[in-house]
Assembly symmetry: C2
Homo-oligomer: 388 residues x 2
């Protein structure tokens, strides 16, 4: 089995830690920094693979916890893996399922060798171990697999976090062993990323980074952030990690974020992101623009003939007015949720592409300042629909 | 104002009353028999205009009752009519709103000059009159407008129906006057169709046909069917009407139906149909095929790698397996509703197109027999997901 997976840094910004790179997988070449839409149940909610490809997506995320419970790994194996099941020709990253066990499942019980939990769907009992989640991800056939980790809630005692990173380290080692001792099922390479934890504690983050870096993963994720901590803490911890993590491996900030968060994190050297915000918020009528977020359900857009964003090339903006899209949301039409999701995924992909251009061009810091100034402007006149 | 609207019979089947024709409107040339998807609130649920056009749709229906209440006629006038508001470049037919007043609104009170009702959305009071519904449809700017009629429920005393057709006749006359005495608002021609009532009573149907035919409408609809009466009565009444109605005007059977109903009604000389079945049932996982309806949510399709219909060219069938689509329905994913709707609309358009071909070719009767035999087969083996 040849290892297809690779990562190369293509350019490094001179005044920030931002960088451009390229991840190669068996299913796509992915320019970084990259945003990965979340396809929880093997589908990015409301959108088709064609629409995602049109928006420029080269990689999407699948949730192992959800897919393991429904439709179940045996069915996905029957269909020849998640790519074939969902007819997604580009890359998949799958998480380990750990995060959902901690956030969704009932009666979870963590022990040294894994975590026992009850399904949020039917209450049935299940267990994830470091070895089992790697084998489940082998069955899913994702291009990038993630280790099982413990993601402590926020806030929580530092002593808990200190113990927790030891468990995360031990599980990471076991996942690594399970990965090295197993083969892909469908003939394409599968990378494995480690996950750094450590809460909002710099010393624990450093320790966790060092522990994970002692294992030769394909890339490193920064986990346990965007779970309720202040934004300043999130960026501080991100900076601590990106400074320590290997320069020649991709760095993935899990579960982040809003457009301005992505820009900040890119400037700190993050290469990969995933978040439900563009789709979840899009389904509720919050759409993102270069002038900030806009609630298209706002009464002020009732008779507005302009598209959501006059500079946007997505189908929603090429086709419909704010007034019509607002009507669709008021009438609770399914098309509203499609258009909100489509526009936001398109905007996120465009945002990443613009960031890559400016990193390559060497003016990322100036662009970032200008972008944030426009995006975070709270001018009522410029952006009457701004989220409060 | 030039009258663009026209209808020409292109071929007449020799052994049935089926016929092919062409309706010309300012927005499209429509080959008949035609099925019109229902876009209740200015959108065919879950689908985009592009998808409808790809499926071959040349005309869709908008519901005056719904659009009048939300977003309201003034907003649609502000946007320059329903075509521009919804960005639908082909033809629109709008109903008069009467049917929804009788089926949805609260506290409706019919009087000689119209009907007073409370909105099902917010309980506000409104009144529809023959004149007001024509003027509302002028504002919507539909290519084909419908008269206000009373659609009695089923079953009901014959004496009620006998009185009711007199009201329908009087309202039809008033609508006609309001149409003749007003102009389109957006520079394109708007036709007006009359609606025949008369319940399941042959003599009342005949009388209603004669009453309506004495007014020079652009076309004639058969209303008040598919409201709970036996299928045999529906087809008997349809036959009574199509025999009487003018041969040179389109005949529209309102609210019908399932694929086999369409085939029967076409053989009786019906030219136009609308129904929520393809979209409503599609959203719940009932998909239509040449072998009959199929509930794709059925357990038997869990591991089925075949498309819904191997002969179908729609995006759902070109892209996804029954197993994956079933998973999407089980997981209550929005994409499931899109794919079910898309396939069904595609199937309905294809069915109409195949019927037109066989009418032109002169072998419609033989094709109909063969189609119904396959479609209505209840063989468990051929069609395990058949609706019970």
């Amino acid at each position: 089995m040849q290892n297809t997976f690779s990562f190369h840094v293509l350019s490094q910004d001179s005044s920030t830690t931002a960088r451009c790179g390229r991840i190669t997988t068996s299913h796509s070449e992915i320019d970084t920094p990259v945003f990965m839409p979340v396809g929880t149940q093997g589908t990015v909610k409301s959108l088709t693979p064609d629409e995602l490809i049109d928006a420029g997506c080269k990689i999407i995320l699948g949730n192992t916890y959800h897919l393991y419970l429904r439709p179940g790994e045996e069915l996905i194996r029957h269909f020849g893996g998640l790519h074939k099941f969902a007819n997604w020709p580009k890359a998949f990253l799958t998480d380990s399922g750990g995060y959902q066990v901690f956030s969704l499942a009932a009666l979870r019980k963590i022990h040294e060798h894994g975590v026992r939990f009850q399904s949020h769907i039917d209450g049935s009992y299940h267990e994830f171990t470091p070895e089992s989640v790697v084998q489940t991800q082998r069955i899913l056939g994702s291009d990038i697999m993630m280790v099982l980790d413990e993601c402590p809630p926020y806030p929580i005692d530092k002593s808990y976090v200190a113990e927790s990173i030891e468990l995360t380290r031990s599980w990471a080692q076991s996942c690594f062993g399970s990965w090295k001792n197993s083969e892909p099922l469908y003939g394409h390479d599968q990378a494995l990323f480690g996950i750094v934890q450590g809460g909002v504690h710099e010393d624990l983050r450093r320790r966790s980074c060092e522990q994970l870096m002692s294992i030769e993963f394909s890339g490193y994720a920064i986990g346990g952030l965007s779970v309720g901590e202040p934004k300043t803490a999130m960026f501080e911890m991100t900076a601590v990690c990106t400074e320590l993590l290997p320069k020649d491996k991709p760095r993935y900030l899990m579960g982040v974020g809003k457009p301005d968060d992505l820009v900040e994190a890119v400037s700190l050297g993050v290469d990969m992101f995933d978040c439900v915000i563009p789709t979840r918020n899009g389904r509720k009528g919050q759409v993102f623009t270069w002038n900030g977020p806009m609630n298209v359900t706002n009464l002020i857009f009732r008779d507005d003939p302009r598209p959501i964003d006059e500079t946007c090339g997505c189908y929603a903006c090429r086709t419909f007015s704010r007034g019509y899209i607002r009507h669709l949301f008021q009438a609770q039409e399914l098309l509203a949720m499609r258009l909100g999701s489509l526009h936001n995924i398109f905007f996120y992909q465009k945002l990443m592409s613009v960031m890559r251009e400016h990193i390559h061009a060497g003016d990322f810091a100036a662009w970032k300042k200008s972008f944030l100034s426009t995006y975070q402007s709270t001018s009522e006149m410029n952006n009457p629909g701004r989220e409060q």
